[in-house]
Symmetry: C2
Subunit: 234 residues, 2 copies
Amino acid sequence: MEKNTENRTLTELASENLIRLIRERNYVPGDKLPTEAELSEILGVGRNTVREALRILVSRNIVVIRQGSGTFVSKKQGVSDDPFGFSLAADREKLTRDLMQVRVMLEPPIAALAAQNARKEDVKKLEELLEEVEGRIRKRQDYAEADIRFHEQIANCSHNSVMSNLVPVIGKGIAIFAREVGTTEYEQTLISHRAIFRAIQEGKAVEAQQAMQFHLLYNENRYLEERAALGRLG
Amino acid sequence: MEKNTENRTLTELASENLIRLIRERNYVPGDKLPTEAELSEILGVGRNTVREALRILVSRNIVVIRQGSGTFVSKKQGVSDDPFGFSLAADREKLTRDLMQVRVMLEPPIAALAAQNARKEDVKKLEELLEEVEGRIRKRQDYAEADIRFHEQIANCSHNSVMSNLVPVIGKGIAIFAREVGTTEYEQTLISHRAIFRAIQEGKAVEAQQAMQFHLLYNENRYLEERAALGRLG
């Protein structure tokens, strides 16, 4: 047992040193890391420790291991898959409401920032994602994933690195919401997304903020009404 | 190499099944998990796989291993230490500004919710943390950690589970800010914290929101002024 704990500490130390290495060498997503043997030498630890440290970095989405080709810096930039333990939450209904409450606080000011800071190429990508959601809605296909990407791209338009990392996590709220809500809203989503996009494209921060606020409150209200009708709430 | 990848998938699957087990059995923080041998039987995988799966859960703060006594559900409730890869960010100054921007968006509405939803015992704990910060300020001691706990407790007062998990992460913003800013603000922190606390205690949501907004904007402004004076910005 003692040994196990010591190992864990060694591994943790090695994983911190690996992160420092990635930062100091200015590795960017997609870059290849030195081999296990080289890392073992650079960090001054055994290859087993290197392997375990790399596994921790994989679980934190800092690196990916591609069999046969090596270890690479992850494109997810160290954003964990479930950093807030949503998978642990037993009360899915409260989680859905809490996530929606956070989105209503965060996403409207993000949309305002996006309208202020978006570059031409950001807007182009946002338009593509808008059209992807619209295409799926017209065919009455499930659009939850495309919807998440649309909201993520708005966060990217803000050029605030913390937002860009925060929204994909909050984006899980969209997936959980889509599972929890009984009916899918097609027409209002088309109108709201278009309004948000147009305000960002035209650089109108106030309109973008309000369009996002309406979009989220409309959906929150829809969910609460549905619950009330089911007699579970209020 | 192939073997390595297969192992990883087995381990990941086992870690997901472990999370399901924790959720379905309604384990709460502090509860003891079955032994490695028992988990190996329950999950139908080898003990090595159980050990690796547990290590992943440790790195995600879902469980802690105490040598000699076993594996327990972590009190950090699955909230990762650095879920957004802040440790990877090369530009510390931009990170500081981006974090502050997110705090200015999030924390005022959280303070409003706290004023609305705080229970008696929440307010009591908040008062203790307020006094801890005040004590440290009077002795001119470093108060960054106590400050983080004060802001975290405000998030807990909101009774929104997502906020409670989000703010400790954003709380890193306080630590990074404290390292980046040149001078420590004592007097204004005393006044601002007291104003925020009183509004929450009295259940005044609007006052709580505005007091928090002023507190954060005052500090942001202080940082930007300092940078400007250094001639690095604007």
